[in-house]
Symmetry: C2
Subunit: 887 residues, 2 copies
């Protein structure tokens, strides 16, 4: 069969259908579908998106075959309508509209009233008996064509319009009469000639092809490219072009145009929502010169028409089984639908619509789960800049959207100040080049965090996400020095107000109004459906039942929050964060600089009860759920003091000179700490540290168990790359555990396992599995080492990599399935070859990212683990993975 | 068949043979073999090494079965000799000797004269009619038994001996008569009792089992464990124990004992070599109290006996087809062989013997190639501390044996001073905490390098190996501060003489005498045989012909040296080293701190002709061979100046303030430079740098080609982890290459390929192979990232890992075949799936390490590449791989 390049619709029949979105674009497919449904739609035809692809392949030219086929369909349209393009008595006018398979609102171009020229305008006047309509349409066409096809700035046309208004002394364009508009057409044509050095084209076919090519061209305009990138839209052919017979909302006072939704797109409530303008064409509604009316007022104005519109809306929603966003035009009291599509909506609306539609019996629970994106779900948990405010303001800088949510506050430049100001009841934003573990206190009281360096997994980013606090990281435009932040020459001092949008990475000047999240009952219902799907899933080929969601939490507060968000245990509890509290850091430092084993032992003995207490709290919160606790991971130099006073104090405690301590601290320095003396390597060289931690965990477990708490401790050895490391450490932990269990007489079902984060660990996973009850993939470090990317340093090139499309995504945000994924699959396969029942999860930052969650499901993991605030997203993503992999 | 635990030999027949070394140890197997050959050997039996293994498995106990079997064999020995153990008239005495499958000279224990007690000594006196012999043997036995079995220090016995000598006023023990020795026996027995609180055991069977167990126990004494570790001896069962009837070299003046070699073990010359002592037992020769005589003097003393010995030597060498090391005893003019084994020999001797034996028609060329270890070959290329000197001195410190060879010189603490002192004609050793690329000049003029930090692949180690210069790295005992080096409290100043042994890692005080290597014609012959095997090898399963050896060389000098050593091209030419020369570093820095593209371009334009000149030199030396040139790899911050003067100078050139330059330099700082902005990442962000380098390479190639040189440039992109990186860079290089070729009209067959060093590259090697003509495995970085080990930082734990056997070897010295090897095999497999003819090599430090070379051969690489001085070793290792994989 020869290729069909153009699809006709009109007269109650259409060659296309709603299923042909890839080819006809959303708009073209739905125009065809509505036509077939008998809904009033002006006739027309759609050029396929494939022709757009070919247009680019041919060096921005159309094939002769296409030209022929379009002209055939144009003739068919002319005979359907009974008018001819450019006819001097009763001309056919058309609109030329873009439309891709995925909706990209406002990104591409549309041209109305095409076909008008100096003769046809007279014909239109005659046939409509409406002189003003004719000249109004002509001036609109010249303006749009000049702007869209020839690139003449719209403002230039506005200036001409202003001249005429000024001369006539009127405010609004509806107050211009036919003569004024005639004059305007003259001025517009002169402007066109001046700007393009060509006369305004009089041949309607010439107009048509120029317009079609302009729409094809708009596919690759910078804003469209950027939109596709931001929204992760890939693998589209291009845009389709629909050529539709014009209907005129500007025919007179019984004509008009509007946009409406079958439900409220910001709340999801089931109410008819929208607005319209009489005697206007589409762009007038958008331009905001006249204020549109609420759709419900149409009922008073024309009850019959309103009822028709309500009927159409109901029919379309029912037909498409989803909330619709519709464009319509009324010409001389008759309704025409120009577009319908599934409506874009806020997160809250998405959830409410999905839940309501299940109650209404329209969709199934499973379908409902696919109707809310993880991003939409995330929205509902965070405050946002008030939409009305956001429209009015412009960001002063943009960084990485490291942790979502909006925050407004006064700038402070140190963690200590953050705490002081907070104590005085002030709202602060912590602004720093970067944060370090010592800043935790300040981060905790700040409304949000802004750093000028670091990436998506920098300390600031990771901690902020853990706290569910907005964070913008790596905002390179902000230069932070000497208690000042300079952005593009503008200086911000301590105490100045700024506002952060962590979801977009935008920084705003001043104190903007925020909108708090409203969490409704629908959310609970919705997530319970996600859990049903997730918990009852069965991966037959792997014999795996269920797919768990745990959390990464280091404190009982975080653990409680995660429980509230539905976490089924802890996948990663980092013990080192516990050491940064004032009391503990001093003892810990004493331990690090201990001159001999005895001194070290003394310090560890002091730490033991403190760690134990922390663990008891966590076990209590996680009653009945597993808690994976990772033994000390970071290199010791992260804990040593940096300023002189602290060094002096520590030297005194350690009983050595400050100089000797400085030498000791210097000796801990590493060239590449990421690949240095950390993780299990510390366990091997200082087994007493790991033994103390294991003892604290087991004592805490026994203490909690004896109180009646169900405890399932899982002790995790980090950074293992060699079987002997794990074997030796398992020996130590088992020895300690047995001793504690004998002493306390408690019965505890404990497990010992390892992080899989060093690439070599995946290669020898079969060996490691002999000594591990579980594996937890530490995909942050695994990504760092497999890609050779230091998270702290990639800021100098990874943004450019993403910009230039070398990398599609930041591999620290989205798991690199192609590369690192191979190692994960290898590790899982080898691990399970040794131990079929090996429990496997992920505890890297990827555990809350939807595409990564899907990978983990397919790869055969038992659970994912993520920061508390991402737990709901993970629950939904997990359910969506289950559903999409059932297909 | 029941397990045979004990093997008898004697009376011209033996149950064992030379083939049973694993079970009987070298000594036992050869005693059996010699017995069967009819060579005079005292009868005896050997307990298998398996019994040693069982001894440990049973918690240091022997099984009843073994006890029974030994006693049976003892009775058989008694009847063969016609004497009984402990007999009061004519007692049997035995020696109890250790002997593992691999010779470990002096590491384990031997006990002579066993069976003597207060009665048997009288029996011995009677039966031999030699009172002195009897008491001399008894005192020797108490001494040896006390020392070996009971751990009484030998010095304690010496003290008693000294008392007796003092009393008698004699110097030597031969001057003691029977009565003196009787008294000595009393004193020894008293000493024994005092030290052990037990009487000296009188039951010969009790003596025997204690002695056997002591030999078993000596298998795991610290020095034996260390010896096995140093010599990489693994997978042995334990030591066998040979119980042999005593013959007495101390019978009188017609008795004696000696050691001899069938050729000279230090030169390999075919001459009878050895020494002996009359009226002595074995330990006297070793103890050095009396000076032994040269073996040839035996001819004058007893021509018949000498001829017998010569005949035995010739027979044994012919039988074993290798140079023999023999122990013999003469009792009353009759010769007994107590041991023969393949002789240990120096590198020079190994080569000469191997080559000579081929000429003599004893062994084939292939067999000759297996007779020289790579370590022996390496020896002959480096000076060494004179053996006579080395015997007398003790090392003051020990570091890593980073680059072999010995050097003596005066200490200097900076590279600049090294150059100044060298200019004054002084020999210097550069002593530094660590070296950096700026020290190259000083390293070049120094005799050797000593650093207190860093590992086997630290800058100092890598560069020194490249220069073929001795280097001891990571010598932690040496504290280097303020122009002083302190070792165990002893201070060394600038100008003090020390001597380094890079092969052992030992540091000596003072100026020791060195022995220069003597390279003989045999070496050339030997290596040509290695090349024959290597070049004509064929790996049928992979369809690979030959196995190449290239070199890593950055200058034409290095390249020339490597050619002289037989390198067949360059596998890695690091362009960055070229930038460290005075002239270039300034321009390069100018480029780095350039404010804009134009300034950068200007600096690059200046660098182009300089780089081009370097490359021309290299191409000329490598006429007819491929030259792989790696584009810029290290992060830019490695090149920026550190001291204030240089910063000021650079700021002036760059036209910015010193403070601005400091800020710029600070902004280049990275947390983990190993995983930072380097390699192809620089190529992506600054394509102009890579384009300049590609242009310099291509212009140089054309220039050389037009002079008639055959050039085969291979341009290598480092650190690639993603297909797009390679695709983009290949585009740049091809564009530049085409331009240059068009301009110069030269015809050059150039290749573009990539380093495989980021783990991810191995995982996507199938993709990379679409854009690569060759792969070169950079196993240094691949090891760093796959293990998560920073070479610069592992000093804090890897030594302990090796010490405790967590790691068998330093993975930077010996390729980790189990882990990293998997990635290499994966990368090769995937690469060749895409391109069957993909050329693959290795250019990491492992390319010259024998076990790694073998892995590369088996994995299907086309060649290995290593530093010039390791090229001969690689040639031999490669040939040995070919041979061992043919089996």
């Amino acid at each position: 069969m020869a290729e069909k390049r153009v699809y006709f619709f009109g007269g109650g029949q259409a060659e296309g259908s709603a299923k042909m979105k890839d080819l006809l674009g959303g708009k073209g497919a739905n125009l065809a579908e509505m036509t077939s449904l008998g809904i009033p739609v002006p006739p027309g035809f759609t050029i396929t998106a494939k022709m757009c692809e070919q247009y680019y392949k041919n060096g921005r030219k159309n094939s002769d075959d296409l030209v022929e086929e379009v002209e055939e369909h144009l003739h068919r349209l002319e005979s359907t309508v009974g008018k001819k393009l450019g006819d001097k008595d009763s001309p056919l006018l058309v609109s030329v509209r873009s439309g891709a398979a995925v909706s990209m609102p406002g990104m591409m171009d549309t041209i109305l009233n095409l076909g008008l020229n100096d003769e046809a305008v007279i014909g239109l006047q005659k046939s409509t008996n409406n002189e003003r309509l004719a000249w109004d349409s002509y001036r609109r066409f010249i303006n749009m064509f000049g702007n869209v096809v020839m690139g003449i700035p719209h403002e230039e046309f506005e200036k001409e319009m202003d001249k005429v208004k000024y001369k006539k002394n009127v405010e609004e364009d509806v107050d211009l009469d036919a003569n004024d508009l005639k004059e305007l057409v003259k001025l517009y044509k002169a402007l066109y000639k001046k700007q393009t050095h060509e006369d305004f084209p009089q041949d309607p076919l010439d107009q048509l092809w120029k317009a079609i090519n302009a729409v094809f061209g708009s596919w690759n305009n910078p804003k469209a490219i950027k939109y596709r990138k931001i929204n992760d839209i890939k693998d589209l052919l291009g845009t389709a072009v629909s050529v539709v017979a014009m209907v005129f909302g500007n025919f007179g006072d019984d004509s008009g145009t509007g946009v409406c939704f079958s439900r409220d797109p910001s709340t999801g409530e089931k109410m008819f929502y929208g607005e319209y303008l009489m005697n206007a064409q589409g762009e007038d509604v958008v331009a905001g010169i006249r204020t549109p009316k609420r759709i419900t007022t149409l009922q008073d104005q024309d009850p019959k028409l309103f009822q028709t519109l309500v009927d159409v809306k109901d029919r379309l929603e029912k037909h498409y089984r989803d909330m619709q966003d519709m464009e319509f035009t009324i010409q001389e009291g008759k309704l025409y639908l120009l577009q319908t599509r599934n409506a874009k909506r806020t997160g809250a609306a998405a959830i409410k619509v999905a839940v309501d539609m299940v109650s209404e019996g329209v969709i199934s629970k499973e379908e409902a789960l696919t109707r809310v994106t993880p991003l939409q779900l995330e929205q509902v948990f965070h405050p946002a800049i008030h939409p009305a405010t956001k429209k009015k303001v412009k960001a002063i800088a943009k960084g990485l959207n490291a942790s979502p949510g909006a925050a407004t506050g006064q700038i402070v430049f140190s963690a200590d100040e953050a705490e002081e100001w907070h104590a005085e009841g002030k709202k602060v934003l912590l602004v720093r080049p970067e944060t370090s573990p010592e800043d935790i206190g300040g981060m905790d009281v700040a409304e949000g965090i802004l750093t000028s360096t670091g990436g998506m997994t920098s300390h600031a980013a990771v901690v902020a996400r853990g706290m569910g606090k907005p964070c913008i990281a790596g905002c390179k435009e902000a230069q932070i020095v000497n208690k000042k932040m300079v952005i593009k020459g503008q200086e911000f001092k301590e105490g100045d107000w700024i506002t952060l949008d962590g979801a977009s990475g935008e920084v705003f000047e001043g104190k903007l109004e925020l909108k708090e999240p409203e969490i409704k009952g629908e959310l609970t219902t919705f997530l319970s459906w996600a859990d049903e799907v997730r918990i009852h899933s069965y991966r037959a080929s792997k014999g795996l039942k269920g797919f768990g969601v745990r959390t990464n939490a280091d404190t009982s507060t975080d653990a409680q929050r995660a429980r509230d968000f539905g976490a089924e245990g802890i996948g990663l509890c980092r013990t080192e964060h516990m050491f940064f509290e004032e009391e503990k850091i001093k003892i810990f430092r004493e331990m690090i600089v201990a001159a001999d084993d005895e001194a070290r032992k003394k310090a560890l003995d002091k730490l033991l009860p403190l760690q134990q207490k922390d663990f008891v709290g966590i076990f209590e919160v996680m009653n009945g759920f597993p808690v994976t606790i990772r033994l000390l991971d970071p290199p010791l130099h992260e804990f040593v003091p940096k300023d002189d006073d602290q060094i002096k104090e520590l030297a005194k405690i350690a009983g050595i000179s400050a100089q000797a301590l400085k030498n000791k601290i210097r000796s801990l320095h590493e060239e590449n700490p990421m690949l240095g003396h950390r993780g299990v390597r510390l366990g091997i060289t200082f087994p007493e540290i790991y033994r103390m931690q294991a003892e604290a965990i087991m004592r805490a477990a026994c203490e909690a168990a004896l109180k009646g708490v169900q405890v399932y401790p899982e002790i995790m050895i980090p950074l293992v790359g060699h079987i002997r490391e794990l074997e030796i450490m398992r020996g130590h932990v088992e020895e300690v555990a047995k001793k504690v269990l004998q002493e306390t007489k408690a019965k505890i079902d404990y497990k010992i396992g390892t992080m899989i984060e060093v690439p070599r660990a995946t290669l020898v996973a079969d060996e490691l599995a002999h000594h591990a009850d579980f594996f937890s993939f530490g995909t942050n470090d695994l990504t760092q080492m497999t890609y050779g990317f230091s998270r702290d340093d990639v800021g100098s090139f990874v943004p450019q990599y993403i910009q230039e499309g070398i990398l599609e995504d930041d591999p620290f945000a989205k798991l690199d399935q192609e590369g690192i994924g191979q190692l994960i699959e290898l590790g899982i396969g080898k691990g399970r070859d040794t131990n079929k029942y090996l429990k496997i999860g992920i505890c890297g930052e990827h555990g809350g990212e939807p595409s990564s969650v899907d990978f983990c499901y397919r790869a055969g993991m038992n659970y994912v683990s993520c920061s508390p605030f991402r737990v709901p997203v993970a629950r939904l993503s997990a359910a969506q993975s289950v559903l999409s992999n059932q297909k």
